[in-house]
């Protein structure tokens, strides 16, 4: 197990290195530098700049050095825990990223707090009696909700709950500090989009377990149905969903982009998009590192969880 974790971590750093190198290479094009300048000085100004004053600007920004040198420097500073500086936000990337991650964290927390119980309960209910009415309805609902892309869900919710009924604010800019009211729509959007998927997976694995021979054994042992479900089926059925849910963390990171942008919620996703469009290289870099880390760590967690839940592997 430990070996596996170590293996993954090593892999993570490899991936991080490769990924960030690629990004650096990509963002190194004169095209991107020019765009940076435009953002910085304004379109007219830049095009009016003489070549050498543009070069001056570049060197002032430290952009004139070839990218591999900048990359090595960047690596160096990363290793000293300095994530670099955001041209756009005129701020250290570290704290900036922390703020945004915190916001997204809040979002994620509520999303999971709602999504997990909802999807598991529905999934189990559906999987218990495969083909029954409750199964078909639940399955259909979950297909339906997952089929509506986040952006559409966001729109529907906003139109109904905010524009129509006026119950909730349409935007979640939270300019006057944290307001729970403004969190509701984004959370709902994400939950509605995501729970169906998990629910379906849960259903599938529950259904599979219920048709397995050891459940037959249990029933033919003559123990009550409730216990068969609770004690025999659930544990085996929840292994797959568990790992899945953990992996949703990773999904969330990209899933939030559109939601955060739509609701103007200042989170990781929005930051990422803004940075990429700016293009605020070091922010994009930092975000990617975080993303990769999350991806791998959630992978690890789900592995650990899987082995923990699954004696077949634990005592192999």
């Amino acid at each position: 197990m430990l070996k596996l974790i170590l293996r993954r971590l090593v892999q993570m750093f490899l991936i991080m290195a490769v990924a960030s190198l690629l990004l650096f290479a990509i963002f190194d094009t004169p095209d991107f530098k020019k765009r940076l300048a435009v953002q910085e000085l304004g379109g007219f100004a830049v095009s009016a700049l003489s070549e050498d004053s543009y070069q001056a600007w570049l060197s002032e920004r430290g952009l004139d050095a070839p990218f591999y040198i900048r990359y090595t420097n960047w690596i160096g500073s990363i290793l000293q825990g300095d994530l670099g500086f955001s041209y756009e936000k005129n701020r250290e990337v570290g704290p900036l990223l922390l703020d945004r991650l915190a916001n997204t964290g809040i979002l994620a927390f509520f999303v999971f707090a709602l999504m997990i119980p909802l999807s598991l309960v529905l999934g189990v209910l559906a999987g218990m009696k495969e083909g029954s009415v409750q199964d078909r309805t639940i399955s259909f609902i979950s297909v339906f909700t997952t089929s509506i892309p986040e952006i559409a869900t966001a729109i529907l919710l906003t139109v109904v709950l905010s524009l129509g009924l006026g119950w909730l604010p349409a935007k979640s800019a939270m300019i006057r500090g944290f307001e729970f009211q403004q969190l509701i729509l984004p959370v709902l959007t994400l939950v509605i989009y995501d729970f169906g998927y998990v629910a379906r997976m849960t259903r599938a694995s529950m259904a599979e377990v219920m048709t397995s021979q050891y459940i037959r054994t249990a029933i033919l042992k003559g123990i009550p149905y409730r216990r068969v479900v609770m004690r025999h089926a659930l544990r085996n059925a929840l292994i797959a969903p568990f790992t899945l849910i953990v992996l949703q963390l990773n999904w969330l990171l990209s899933g939030v982009v559109v939601v955060e942008v739509f609701f103007e919620y200042d989170g990781f996703g929005k930051l990422l998009l803004e940075a990429a469009l700016f293009p605020d290289v070091e922010v994009v870099q930092a975000c990617t590192l975080v993303a990769v880390a999350v991806a791998v760590v959630s992978q690890i967690i789900s592995d650990i969880g899987y082995t923990f839940l699954n004696p077949r592997i634990r005592f192999a």
Binding site: I15, E150, I151, I155, F262
Partner: protein
């Protein structure tokens, strides 16, 4: 148990892929449509005639599809949704629609008349007819979405087979790069790539390929790993077949089945991705209509109850299409489980 012994005739897959006419029709529908969307601009005049054969092909295809799927009403519903849009896409030029880019009268609410033109779905902030925008928009969404998915599959399957069958360091290398790509959140990948290449349909194809090929590669790899332990592969090996032969003739055909379901789902994802990207301003470019774009524009001009139709129309459109794909996937899975 007794039931499993029953020969249920050809599998769904066979039923879908055996009758050559089906494939022919599919091509007859798809090629013109793609050509139209991708190069329509460059073939002035002829463009519309190009699409002519596609219309009957689509209708026929739909009928055949329904027959193939008849056992699963879910699949039929899905099929119908998808084909509704497909039909809209291929017949757009022949429908009595207003120019989707021509401003007529802004903010006309649905089912009402203005400047003695009747607007079924109203007009947007520039006064362009929503109905024709939605229909023309679906053309691009579908074509780019499907092409992107196809390309992604070709690439993904190729690498999947290689790393699955040959394994060894091939596997190591391919899997590693797959992991690199997979550990980017999809959006980051899209944003970075499109940012780099600049937004355009073709670049979306590239981006989607980068984003979903690794996942596909994993699936195919898994399947390949399983299938390569089968005796018929063993037989082929002992026959001294070339690995390439084995991959293409022994593995690929058997990978096809499980993948079809996944493909339907992925079509959904891709469509979502394209719409989302356009919404974020990274996807297809204005002025030509596109669902994501419509949402983007409406989101800032119509954030109001009385204008909400401008948001709802494209939102519902994209939802219905994706619902179609997913239901199809579900139905197919159901059926393939049955036989």
């Amino acid at each position: 148990m007794a039931v499993t012994e029953i020969d249920a005739g050809p599998s769904v897959l066979d039923r879908l892929s055996r009758p050559k006419p089906l494939i022919a029709l599919a091509l007859l529908m798809w090629v013109p449509l793609t050509a139209y969307v991708m190069f329509g601009g460059r073939m002035d005049g002829y463009a519309d005639t190009v699409l002519l054969p596609a219309v009957p092909a689509t209708v026929l295809l739909y009928v055949l599809g329904v027959r193939a799927f008849r056992e699963s009403w879910v699949a039929v519903i899905g099929l119908s949704l998808v084909f509704f849009w497909l039909l809209a896409a291929v017949s757009a030029p022949y429908l009595p629609l207003l120019d989707p880019n021509k401003p007529i009268a802004p903010f006309v609410t649905p089912f009402s008349e203005k400047r003695d033109v009747f607007f079924w779905l109203g007009t947007d902030f520039k006064g362009r007819d929503m109905l024709s925008r939605v229909i023309w928009g679906c053309q691009r969404v579908i074509v780019w979405g499907v092409s992107a998915t196809m390309v992604a599959y070709v690439v993904g399957a190729l690498f999947g087979l290689i790393s699955g069958y040959l394994s060894g360091w091939w596997d190591e290398v391919i899997s590693f790069f797959a992991n690199v790509l997979l550990s980017f959140p999809v959006m980051v990948l899209f944003i970075v790539i499109l940012n780099y290449l600049g937004p355009s349909g073709f670049n979306i194809v590239v981006a989607v390929t980068f984003a979903s090929a690794p996942a596909i590669m994993r699936i195919v790899r898994g399947l390949a790993l399983d299938i390569k332990t089968r005796d018929y592969v063993f037989a082929a090996q002992t026959r001294g077949e070339h690995p390439l032969y084995i991959m293409i003739f022994e593995l690929l055909p058997n990978v096809r089945g499980p993948i079809i379901v996944d493909a339907c789902l992925r079509l959904g994802y891709t469509t979502v991705a394209i719409t989302t990207l356009t919404f974020l301003g990274l996807g297809l470019q204005p002025p030509d209509p596109d669902w994501g774009l419509m949402i983007r524009e409406s989101a800032k001009t119509a954030m109001l109850w009385k204008f909400s139709y401008m948001l709802l129309v494209p939102a519902l459109a994209v939802s219905s299409l994706i619902l179609g794909f997913n239901l199809m996937a579900d139905g197919l899975r159901e059926m393939s489980l049955r036989d």
